[in-house]
Symmetry: C2
Subunit: 225 residues, 2 copies
DNA sequence: ATGCGCTTCAAACGTATGTTTCAAACAGAC
DNA sequence: GTCTGTTTGAAACATACGTTTGAAGCGCAT
């Protein structure tokens, strides 16, 4: 075997199992047996299970954040001076994700699923790791969003960004299950690209909705038991 | 102690811990020590950890689904014949959730977080349990949504409903944290009702967005490393 | 007071986990 | 070929988990 083919085999197996089952539900023994590698190899090469989780994220997030920076650079250059629109900003993000060179056909959906899990599973160490490693592209995205929605108050924008994040993270984190359901119910095949293509207009429309109505429409009172 | 104060103490502790940390990450020992109850009590009263998870969901989902049925009844009666609008349907759901009698001030956000986890953490048994116990109000909500958005294809509607679910579950489940951040950053106080009042227009706008654009806008090509 | 369900309790069970150990196998330089 | 540092291997470690056990405690009708 090559120098450390082992490292990649572990990362491949871990990535897939984490995406399928979550972090706590995936044991090192599952990973090493799927990777056809000795159990001790994980601790030898990575140090701990948590460090392995970080390595899995770093492997796709580092090139992704570089791609994203490029996309933002090009976008801002193309708009020279004027701030990019909301649609342009969201598409830049989406395309960067979708066009990332994939290791296999499941690549993009694993990628998305892992991002969803990072938000959803409250693994403190992961949160900290991601925040300190990838804060820059994140802040830049936030700044672009702000410039693209000058009509919103800070408070409205804040909440709507949370809504966008939620819709995205949630959908992506269960995208496999949702695709299966759709396949069985309506017999429709769906790719991650198509999901993204449906998600972006939804987000853009929500983001640009008319003023939040702070009081429910007249006559909508609901009886409570 | 009353007859089985123990059962409620276990449910209270379990509910909060599950919402905080997820199911696999919460051990029976954490639950019983938080509830100040003997470890064996869980298996004595509920039979197993999975059954406890079901009981936690049943405790709030059963009254909620009754409240929701009432709200839908009243709504359909008020509209006599004509299908309720999307806004009306969403408000009926939202108000039913917000007006549920809460055990404490964190009630609504725990409730939401648990629903999110139920979707997200791939606990097969939970999925099955929820589907067979609460399929009726769920189907009814889906039917109302369908009648309120006749312009959407089934596939578009399906995905947009997932986006709504995601935005809602995610936001509500972390609403405590998000409220705190907002308080510190902008000095703004926010109630759950206000969040809901911002969320509903966002969802309605996303749901009614123009046709999903399946191809990115011209000129949005992104350079890839 | 006695006996009978139901509930609590401390302790243990068997299993699975992440991690460590240390000897064996290996690769490359001399 | 021999030595050296790196990687693999089988086995064990300590710990945590969900669950089970059997005795003790309790309220209450008889």
């Amino acid at each position: 075997m090559a120098q450390s083919d082992t490292v990649d085999r572990i990362l491949d197996a871990a990535e897939e199992l984490f995406a399928d089952r979550g972090f706590s539900e995936t044991s090192l023994r599952m990973i090493t047996s799927k990777a056809k590698v000795n159990l001790a190899a994980v601790n030898y090469h990575f140090g701990s299970k948590n460090a392995l989780i970080h390595a899995v994220f770093a492997r796709f997030l580092t090139p992704f954040s570089a791609t994203l920076e490029n996309a933002f650079d090009e976008l801002e250059e193309r708009c020279d001076g004027k701030p990019p629109t909301l649609n342009q900003t969201l598409w830049a993000l989406t395309e960067s994700a979708v066009r990332m060179p994939q290791r296999n056909e499941k690549g993009i959906s694993i990628f998305m699923r892992l991002l969803g899990l990072a938000y959803t599973q409250s693994q403190g160490h992961l949160r900290k790791f991601l925040e300190q490693e990838y804060s820059e592209p994140f802040s830049r995205f936030m700044r672009l969003l702000k410039e693209a929605t000058p009509q919103l108050s800070s408070v409205d924008r804040y909440w709507r960004i949370q809504f966008m994040l939620g819709a995205t993270a949630f959908t992506m984190s269960s995208s496999d299950a949702l695709r299966d359901i759709l396949q069985n119910k309506l017999g429709v095949e769906t790719t991650v690209q198509e999901i993204a293509a449906r998600l972006v207009p939804f987000l853009a429309a929500g983001m640009q909705a008319e003023d939040a109505m702070l009081i429910p429409p007249a006559g909508s009172k609901v009886s409570v038991a």
